[in-house]
């Protein structure tokens, strides 16, 4: 058995400065990597306040004169799922928004971790260095929706910066980029004549209008004890309950 006894450090020895620099480099590297590891396989929850909401009602794909909502400020319950050191997704918490509605606990949009949506090209990536990072979420539809709710080439994107400090993560103002942004409220129905085939009975919803898109305000997110690697298999998030 070999044992070693640490030598006392002589602060005046010429090699001490080199050691310190090496140690500093190692520590910086060590802290830099856990920056990623702090987020990998974690779920963060928060309330996203969105202002400058300008929407106009749509019925059967046509813009209606009513309602038009201008300049509203609203908030939504979201989670950020960091799958690994690069990819993330967003979960809208249905159950915190409308508990009475018989729906999934959450609606996921983000990195297609199991390649289940070939009709989309989804790029949801982030980088983190020393507690500061950037993120980018991009949806590109590759094929027309069989339900009539999207077309090939339809794109939406958002990006921004964030910082992490302990169990708090802060996202800064988010920039949106999209050609047209509609939120549909209609439902798809199974065609009785062709079981398994779905069609949209009618496209109703709202379209974001005006020159300015909604502004996502700075948000502080709190780390939860849950993990995407486990939560993905809980019924009600990525699958029907």
């Amino acid at each position: 058995m070999i044992t070693t006894t640490p030598r006392p450090i002589n602060p005046h020895h010429p090699g001490t400065l080199v050691r310190r620099i090496v140690l500093g480099g190692v520590l910086a590297f060590a802290f830099g990597c856990p920056g990623h590891a702090q987020l990998a396989d974690t779920i963060w929850e928060g309330t996203q306040v969105i202002r400058n909401v300008n929407v106009q009602g749509m019925r059967d794909r046509l813009l209606m004169d009513y309602p038009v909502v201008i300049g509203g400020r609203t908030s939504f319950p979201f989670e950020i799922w960091f799958w690994d050191e690069t990819h993330f997704g967003i979960v809208f918490r249905n159950d915190r928004f409308d508990p009475a509605r018989n729906s999934r606990k959450g609606e996921y949009e983000g990195w297609d971790y199991n390649n289940s949506e070939p009709e989309f090209s989804r790029s949801f990536t982030y980088t983190l260095r020393s507690g500061k990072g950037t993120f980018l979420g991009r949806n590109l539809r590759l094929a027309n929706s069989p339900w009539g709710w999207g077309y090939a080439g339809q794109m939406s994107q958002y990006s921004g910066k964030f910082s992490v400090k302990g169990s708090k993560l802060t996202t800064q103002k988010v920039v949106l980029l999209t050609d047209s942004w509609d939120l549909q409220t209609g439902q798809a129905y199974e065609d009785p004549a062709n079981p398994g085939e779905y069609f949209a009975q009618r496209f109703d919803g709202v379209r974001f209008i005006g020159n300015k898109y909604p502004v996502f305000e700075n948000t502080v997110w709190t780390k939860t004890n849950r993990k995407p690697s486990l939560a993905k298999d809980e019924p009600g998030y990525l699958t029907d309950p």
Binding site: T47, P67, F76, G186
Partner: protein, 204 residues
């Protein structure tokens, strides 16, 4: 013309003009877009604390009609069929939802003298108390203008069932809603006839 005849003529003319001022609105329907500012609504948890969703500081429009029943009373019709955001429910809904004169505990009245007048809508509920709005109106030919009006209600008042967020009863918080100045256009329809058309005051 003698002094006495002149006075008599003015009295008669005044009566006629006064009367016609009224009759211009009696049994008429006016349509317009009512913009409402300062919408501050939040849904509530069972314990009364704020919940999702909330909508603060918004401004939105409503398709409304004013039904002047006679020389004194009026009501408001919200035109469901011009509203675009209710999905499949629209097919099963009435064309319009009426609120006003004739409803229990509601007192909707107006006065018109010449071209200018006032209106007042008051609703009383044993539980929630009184909510009301009142303002001025100006009539010019086929155009009727209502002034900016502040809606008044007890702070604890839940808005009625038609104003929900994600099917939740909502509480109005902060500043009260403001009804912007609105220009209404006279239609060819009459409350005396429209009331019997299915879909306004009765189910279709």
């Amino acid at each position: 013309m003698s002094w006495f005849r002149r006075i008599l003529l003015w009295v008669v003319l005044g009566f006629v003009l006064h009367g016609s001022g009224y009759s211009q609105l009696a049994d008429t329907i006016w349509e317009g877009t009512q913009w409402i500012s300062s919408i501050n609504m939040v849904s509530l948890k069972p314990d009364g604390s704020a919940n999702f969703p909330s909508l603060l500081g918004a401004r939105f429009n409503l398709p409304l009609e004013i039904w002047f029943w006679d020389n004194t009373h009026f009501g408001i019709v919200f035109r469901n069929d011009r509203w675009g955001f209710d999905g499949g429910r629209l097919n099963r809904m009435r064309k319009g939802e009426y609120s006003g004169h004739g409803d229990e505990f509601k007192n909707y009245t107006y006065r018109l003298k010449g071209k200018a007048g006032t209106f007042s809508a008051r609703e009383y509920d044993d539980y929630f108390g009184l909510e009301s709005y009142a303002g001025r109106l100006v009539l010019q030919g086929n155009k009727l203008t209502t002034d900016r009006v502040t809606y008044a209600a007890p702070t604890s008042r839940y808005l009625d069932g038609s104003a929900t967020l994600a099917n939740f009863p909502c509480k109005q918080i902060g500043k009260l809603p403001v009804f912007d100045k609105t220009v209404w256009t006279k239609t060819n329809r009459k409350p005396s006839i429209a009331k019997d058309e299915p879909g306004y005051l009765t189910d279709p």
